[in-house]
């Protein structure tokens, strides 16, 4: 197991955001985490990335508890839901991808990762001038620049057009199958998860399914349970 989460519970802003969640990820897995808005997907990722620390339970990456060492972060690439940056931020695509790298590292890797996401021809364009889909591919390239073993993506295609989504999914599939990168990806898009993910975790503050993708998508009871739970959460969010 390269990721082990045991009995993770966290209160966030006075609300029980995650309740006793346990799941594990094996090397080369393509794990799709599904759940309605407010189900705790982003909170789960924030805990895994060390951005939230006030949780109970244990999170281990590569066998080590993440509270004890942050070294694991060097093996992780993260693509946020919608990267927040100033629209007029004066940075080229190549500069964004190379942020945080030394000059030697930059020369070797930027071109390589931009080719992987089919953006090498736009390396000198200003990041703010690209479309939403292209910007998200820049952030995948950025996440890949440290040659990570695990790629974590938090609803990365929100607000992106259909054509860009298909290209994005194709890139993810190649990274997982050709480059053997473990992918942990949260999404609302059940069709895409059914097509891409080898395993599925169904989250709604608590984990009510974690297993092989086909097992979930071929089980009508589980799908019904998921849609009922999503509907309840949707109504709950509206009441809030």
């Amino acid at each position: 197991m390269i990721v082990e989460i045991e009995n993770l519970t966290i209160n966030y802003d006075g609300i029980l955001a995650l309740d006793n969640v346990s799941l594990s990820v094996e090397e080369k897995d393509f794990l799709g985490i599904i759940g309605p808005n407010g189900a705790g997907k982003t909170t789960l990722f924030s805990c895994m990335l060390g951005l939230l620390n006030n949780y109970n339970g244990e999170i281990k990456f590569f066998g080590a508890n993440i509270r004890k060492s942050k070294q694991y972060l060097h093996q992780i690439g993260f693509v946020p839901q919608k990267p927040v940056f100033e629209k007029n931020f004066p940075a080229t695509v190549a500069e964004v991808v190379g942020m945080g790298l030394t000059k030697n590292q930059k020369d070797n890797t930027i071109d390589k990762v931009l080719q992987k996401v089919w953006l090498h021809e736009l390396s000198h364009r200003r990041i703010g001038d690209l479309s939403g889909g292209q910007q998200q591919r820049v952030f995948i390239a950025k996440a890949l620049v440290n040659d990570p073993q695990i790629l974590i993506l938090d609803e990365p295609v929100t607000g992106i057009d259909l054509q860009s989504k298909d290209l994005f999914y194709q890139i993810l599939r190649d990274l997982n199958q050709k480059d053997s990168i473990t992918v942990i990806w949260s999404s609302h898009d059940l069709d895409a998860v059914a097509k891409l993910a080898s395993k599925v975790a169904c989250l709604n503050r608590t984990l009510f399914f974690h297993g092989i993708s086909e097992e979930f998508f071929h089980n009508e009871n589980l799908l019904k349970m998921y849609s009922e739970s999503s509907m309840q959460m949707h109504m709950h969010n509206h009441e809030d």
């Binding site: 990335l49 060390g50 951005l51 942050k70 972060l73 060097h74 992780i76 993260f78 946020p80 990267p83 927040v84 940056f85 100033e86 007029n88 931020f89 004066p90 940075a91 080229t92 500069e95 964004v96 942020m99 945080g100 790298l101 030394t102 000198h124 364009r125 200003r126 950025k142």
Partner: protein
């Protein structure tokens, strides 16, 4: 007037200090502008005003008290913002008015140091001493070295804090360091353009540079060129026309900004015309 004005000691000191301050403001200002903290420099300058008044009231060299008050205010503002999630612009307004209030109360209590205070309000670069020139050079050099050393982390944190955190960058510590550097920059630059115009030197050259450039490095370099040009041209022309150098420096930087807006607008119109012509040919 010819090159002989450059042989005067006061003019040499003014130009050396002016260039150093312009470089410092430009480098620090780019990070502030991109973090949407453009008015932060203004708030710090007003808190420095309280520090200056305190120094004059207590009989301590006012620049030192300004440094202390400005840095403590910058750190306090950042801490309060992080802890209580108060919006940045509201905190800037609070800091700005509290510094001014402190200054006004001390002035009214003492009632007799308005002449000294005016040189801080509007700047007095032509009167800068050799000791102050050395101090400004030392501070500017140190700040530029610190920023160059932390350049990669600062750019990354400014671009996206969350991703920088995931890349193990100490985002909070860097924020504190940046506000301390901003405080030092503001107090140093008071001598060039004065408290009332300090933030313009931090903001205008950077906004002008951002109109032209695509990349971060390119923007930094252009901004430094605009800032240094404004400082040098402002000091020299103010001497020729016998007007306040602080105001002249800011006026020149505004002219550069206005001219840049004109060039950018002209280029955009030209591009639209070319695209329309190509579209007509295709159809």
């Amino acid at each position: 007037m010819g090159f002989e004005i450059l042989s005067y000691g006061f003019m040499q000191r003014a130009l050396v200090s002016g260039i150093a301050i312009a470089l410092m403001c430009s480098v620090v200002g780019l990070f502030l502008v991109l973090r949407r903290h453009s008015l932060f420099g203004d708030a710090l300058a007003h808190s420095a005003f309280g520090g200056i008044a305190a120094g004059l009231f207590l009989g301590i060299y006012p620049i030192w008290t300004a440094f202390v008050v400005c840095i403590l205010s910058a750190l306090g503002l950042t801490k309060i913002r992080q802890r209580f999630q108060i919006s940045g612009d509201a905190m800037v307004a609070i800091l700005l008015s509290s510094g001014l209030a402190m200054g006004v109360i001390l002035i009214s209590l003492a009632g007799g140091f308005t002449v000294n205070l005016f040189s801080f309000l509007f700047g007095s670069i032509l009167l800068v001493s050799l000791e102050n020139t050395i101090l400004i050079l030392g501070l500017a050099g140190s700040i530029i070295i610190v920023i160059l050393l932390l350049y990669r982390q600062l750019v990354y944190t400014t671009f996206n804090e969350e991703q920088a955190k995931v890349s193990s960058i100490q985002v909070e510590k860097l924020s504190y360091l940046l506000v301390v550097i901003a405080g030092i920059t503001v107090v140093s630059s008071m001598q060039l353009v004065g408290i009332l115009l300090t933030s313009s030197l931090i903001v205008i050259p950077n906004v002008t540079a951002m109109l032209f450039s695509r990349g971060f490095k390119q923007t930094s370099i252009l901004s430094m060129i605009f800032a240094v040009f404004s400082a040098v041209a402002g000091i020299l022309t103010s001497y020729s026309f016998n007007v306040a150098p602080g105001g002249m420096i800011v006026l020149i930087s505004i002219i550069l900004f206005g001219g840049s807006l004109g060039i950018k607008s002209f280029r955009q119109k030209k591009r639209v015309l070319v695209l329309n012509k190509e579209a007509t040919k295709l159809s």
